[in-house]
């Protein structure tokens, strides 16, 4: 496994190489632009979405769950805004994340110069005790999110969900309006086409913005590798197991895997037919558990 202990070393190496390559004198004046590969296209689209959100909403925050997807999202925001994230990174903290996740947050919140806001969730006792355990945890997180929304008055929340993760997320809009209680009206989603977005939430309501909705799990890993984005080591296999998706400790399970590098993860994804969220108890409690949670305002 290749471990480096700071990001700037990796970025520095790469930028030096690219600078040298691009400052070679004698580039022909009408040289054709380099063609875009799949990751370039995904990146350009996400940057466009992030810039539209920043242009059209007044008070934005980016939801940072510390997982691979939201780390890619922060990276994309730094690309979109030339090195800085011009809105707060909000971590709605259940208090039950893995120690590695907290260490990651504390380090990169500083290194990436994020305006980090850590907001706690209410005690579990205050959440409907008739819910199954994982759904109850998720409902608690939704409550924490609502508290943070009320506290800061955000009108836009940037969230790192993807269509390929889960069937109801596949039906999401890029700019997704929420009701006054944060609820999602799946039966009346507005039309959205040609990268024109509905960005006028009613007074007191907010929008969810999904800049990586069109990415897949494999895209996330390929991009993480290409860009040298740091990750939490729990994603890599240890003793025949690894986490494909990271949530609360008590409701997230590792999957059997021998993938101990990103290349091996990509090989594994090429061949697997096991869904990404297989280790998330939340998705399996009842047939429509996830749909009901999302309608109520879960991510």
């Amino acid at each position: 496994m290749h471990l480096l202990d700071n990001e700037s070393a990796a970025a520095g190496t790469r930028s030096a190489a690219l600078r040298n390559a691009s400052s070679v004198p004698g580039i022909p004046a009408n040289q054709a632009p380099p063609t875009m590969d799949h990751l370039d296209e995904l990146e350009a689209q996400s940057i466009y979405i992030l810039r539209e959100a920043f242009a059209r909403l007044k008070k934005l925050a980016l939801l940072w769950s510390l997982g691979k997807d939201s780390n890619v999202m922060i990276w994309l925001a730094r690309k979109a805004f030339f090195g800085r994230v011009p809105f707060p990174a909000l971590h709605v903290d259940t208090g039950k994340k893995f120690p590695e996740m907290y260490a990651f947050r504390d380090r990169f919140g500083k290194e990436w110069d994020l305006d980090l806001r850590v907001e706690p969730c209410p005690p579990i006792d205050s959440v409907d005790p008739t819910l199954p355990p994982a759904a109850r945890s998720a409902a608690r997180k939704t409550e924490g999110l609502k508290l943070a929304l009320n506290k800061y008055g955000f009108d836009g929340l940037i969230a790192g969900i993807r269509r390929d993760e889960e069937a109801t997320r596949a039906k999401e809009r890029v700019f997704s309006p929420r009701g006054l209680e944060g609820e999602w009206d799946v039966r009346d989603q507005p039309p959205e086409f040609w990268d024109h977005f509905n960005a006028s939430p009613p007074q007191g309501a907010h929008l969810r913005i999904h800049p990586i909705l069109h990415w897949t799990e494999a895209d996330i890993w390929a991009y993480t590798k290409r860009e040298g984005i740091p990750i939490i080591p729990l994603y890599l296999a240890k003793d025949g197991k690894r986490y494909r998706s990271l949530g609360d400790q008590d409701i997230t399970n590792p999957v059997a895997s021998s993938a101990s590098s990103i290349d091996e993860i990509l090989d594994e994804l090429e061949n697997t037919k096991i869904p990404e969220r297989a280790g998330r108890a939340l998705d399996h409690e009842t047939e429509d558990a996830f749909e009901r949670l999302r309608v109520a305002g879960y991510l």
Binding site: A44, A55, R78, A103, F193, I232, E270
Partner: protein, 639 residues
């Protein structure tokens, strides 16, 4: 600390991302089998997650329902309960040479907005038709919308062939009908494939039951659809998303919709026409970048000079810039509950520009699902039409035939997208201002003037035969409006001919130019809050239409329809007598070349009523059409 920081690599990724990805939408009438086909495709191509099929079979059994392939796609509880897809879903699988993103769009008319949301993202489409039911309203409507959405590659699938005993004749009948419909829209089907999605015939394999068919299977037809290429060959279009000043750089950010750019390029910023050079192309973490940047990239540039530009401007190369206009003809689809009518105030989004706008005319309004193209005067929900739009501020755009990315717009009503469409043409009434001409805008805002005058600006255009009473009415109206504290200004055709237009004669070209100048001057006054009262014979319908285009929504046309014999009796200027004696060869009035208007706001015959009575009627018309108002509340509604 135990963080993992992978080394950066720019090599091709091992997960197949170098394979072309193509996005395909499945459309068609409700219950013709879209979701079933998608479920079957996933099964046949081995793309289903482990246990998914068994899980759904178990769920179906528990719910006492027969298993349906569509359950794989219909994720929402309500979708499974009602057996119809409500919202678009997306799912991925692979063919021999492609990564396919399948977009399953709902076929129910109520969810057309969701079908459009899905189809707008597609490179190609599969239009599915039930062999028993044949081409239905949503089949036609979806076909039409594919054309409007710019989806050019369409494969047709005739499903449920088992229900028609795999009849080759029935297949040909449907194939001929839909092909004719699509070709009429400018879309040639890439294939027409007979299948039974439920049983799998024709999906991935040819089966003996359809042995007479020699064309591609569905999977082969999908394999032949190509990803949409970026528009690298077209002129540069960079709509400005924002200007960032996070540090000492002033970065203009946006996505290149077509063409390419690099540092050193001379650019023009539309609609203002200002020129500059690109100083640097900024990026992160490496900056600046020197390689040219092509269509599809999100970029940031700095310019070699300080000049004002804003979100919504479009950057092009000098000599190849987009048009600048306040007037657009568009072909649109409409999704709002309330039909779109003439005179409606809407919000237009063109690229990153937003502008308030007025629907000046509805030229066509049809139901694309109906067999007969019965025309209407308003565009109803889920219908399509052609409209003329007048914009409150100039925008930069291209006709969609010149540039499919910058030649399309969306319409917003109450903060929600209500429709969209293609820019058919851009009015040349206000030509692009040469770079050296910098129009100076008034120091006063229109609402400041409105508050003082109690009226909005307008061009009141009186047309009619010589002697019909235009000048008399114009003078009476001028006196009336002035008496009420307004700011009317009389522009008399003959007065202008004595000065500004003294170089013009009475040839058709000179008459057209005479009208154009009158309209330009009147429009300038109207934009500055005055009511310009134009009294001019203006006999040509085409010339008056040109005047209406120039004045846009401020135009109020009054036909002074006094009978010709009464006009000749009056003959206030002695023209009729002179013409009768042959002294005025092209005098309108005895040569019968006056073309009466049809779409005018008011018609007045002065032969049988008093001047003050006629003036009252003009005032009422100006009040009901939003020019005059009494109360401050009205004012608020008008600004």
């Amino acid at each position: 600390m135990n963080m993992i920081l992978p080394t950066a690599s720019i090599s091709a990724t091992p997960n197949g991302t170098t394979r072309p990805q193509v996005r395909i939408v499945i459309v068609g009438h409700v219950d013709h089998g879209k979701s079933t086909l998608v479920g079957r495709l996933l099964h046949e191509t081995g793309s289903l997650p482990d246990g998914k099929l068994e899980m759904l079979k178990a769920v179906s059994a528990r719910r006492g329902m027969p298993f349906e392939w569509s359950f794989l796609l219909d994720a929402l509880q309500t979708e499974r309960d009602q057996g119809i897809t409500i919202d678009t879903t997306q799912i991925r699988f692979r063919t021999r040479s492609r990564d396919v993103v399948l977009i399953d769009a709902p076929g129910h008319a109520e969810f057309l907005r969701n079908m459009i949301t899905g189809a707008s993202q597609a490179d190609g489409a599969v239009l599915i038709i039930d062999a028993l039911e044949g081409v239905r309203s949503q089949t036609r409507r979806h076909g039409y919308l594919l054309h409007l959405l710019g989806v050019k590659q369409v494969a047709v699938v005739v499903n449920k062939m088992d229900r028609v005993d795999f009849s080759a004749d029935r297949f040909k009948e449907i194939s001929d009908e839909i092909s004719a419909h699509l070709i009429g829209l400018g879309v040639t089907p890439t294939a027409v494939v007979p299948i039974s999605a439920r049983d799998g015939d024709g999906v991935a394999e040819h089966t003996p039951r359809i042995g007479w068919y020699k064309g591609p299977t569905v999977v082969e037809a999908l394999d032949a659809l190509e990803p949409a290429p970026p528009l690298a060959e077209l002129p540069l279009r960079l709509p400005v998303q924002a200007i960032y000043k996070f540090d000492d750089r002033r970065i203009v950010a946006g996505r290149i919709e077509s063409g390419s750019l690099k540092a050193g390029d001379e650019i023009v910023i539309m609609p203002t026409g200002k020129i500059a050079k690109i100083k640097t192309v900024e990026s992160w973490p490496v900056t600046p970048v020197h390689a040219p940047q092509g269509a599809g990239r999100s970029v940031g540039i700095t310019l070699d000079r300080e000049l004002f530009l804003e979100r919504g401007d479009v950057i092009g190369h000098s000599g190849q810039s987009p048009r600048d206009t306040r007037r657009i003809r568009a072909r649109i689809f409409w999704l709002h509950d309330k039909p779109l009518t003439k005179g409606e105030q809407i919000l237009i989004r063109l690229g990153t520009r937003e502008s308030r706008a007025t629907v000046v005319a509805i030229e066509k309004a049809i139901d694309p699902g109906a067999l007969s193209n019965e025309e209407n005067t308003a565009i109803a929900r889920n219908h399509v039409g052609e409209i003329d739009i007048s914009l409150a501020q100039p925008v930069a755009t291209d006709p969609y035939t010149d540039n499919p990315r910058t030649g399309r717009l969306v319409i917003e009503v109450n903060g929600r997208i209500a429709g969209g469409g293609l820019v058919l043409s851009v009015d040349a009434g206000r030509p692009a201002v040469p770079i050296d001409i910098v129009p100076v805008e008034s120091a006063l805002r229109p609402d400041e003037r409105s508050a003082r005058y109690h009226h909005n600006g307008a061009v009141v255009w009186l047309t009619g035969l010589p002697g019909s009473g235009k000048s008399t009415l114009a003078r009476a109206l001028e006196r009336r409006l002035f008496g009420n504290g307004g700011s009317p200004i009389l522009l008399d055709g003959d007065t202008f001919r004595a000065g500004l237009n003294s170089d013009l004669g009475f040839s058709p070209q000179d008459r057209a130019e005479n009208i154009r100048r009158l309209a330009e001057v009147a429009t300038h006054l109207a934009r500055n809050g005055h009511i310009a009262i134009v009294a001019a014979v203006s006999p040509s319908t085409a010339d008056r239409a040109a005047a209406r285009r120039i004045a846009d929504s401020a135009f109020r046309e009054i036909y002074v329809a006094t009978p010709a014999e009464v006009c000749e009796t009056r003959d206030p200027k002695g023209h009729y007598a002179k013409a009768r004696s042959g002294g005025l060869p092209s005098f309108t009035g005895i040569t019968n070349d006056y073309q009466p208007p049809t779409g005018n706001e008011l018609t007045i015959d002065t032969s049988n009523r008093s001047v003050s009575d006629a003036t009252d009627e003009i005032e009422r018309m100006l009040a009901t059409t939003g020019i005059l108002f009494d109360e401050l509340t009205d004012l608020a509604a008008n600004i």
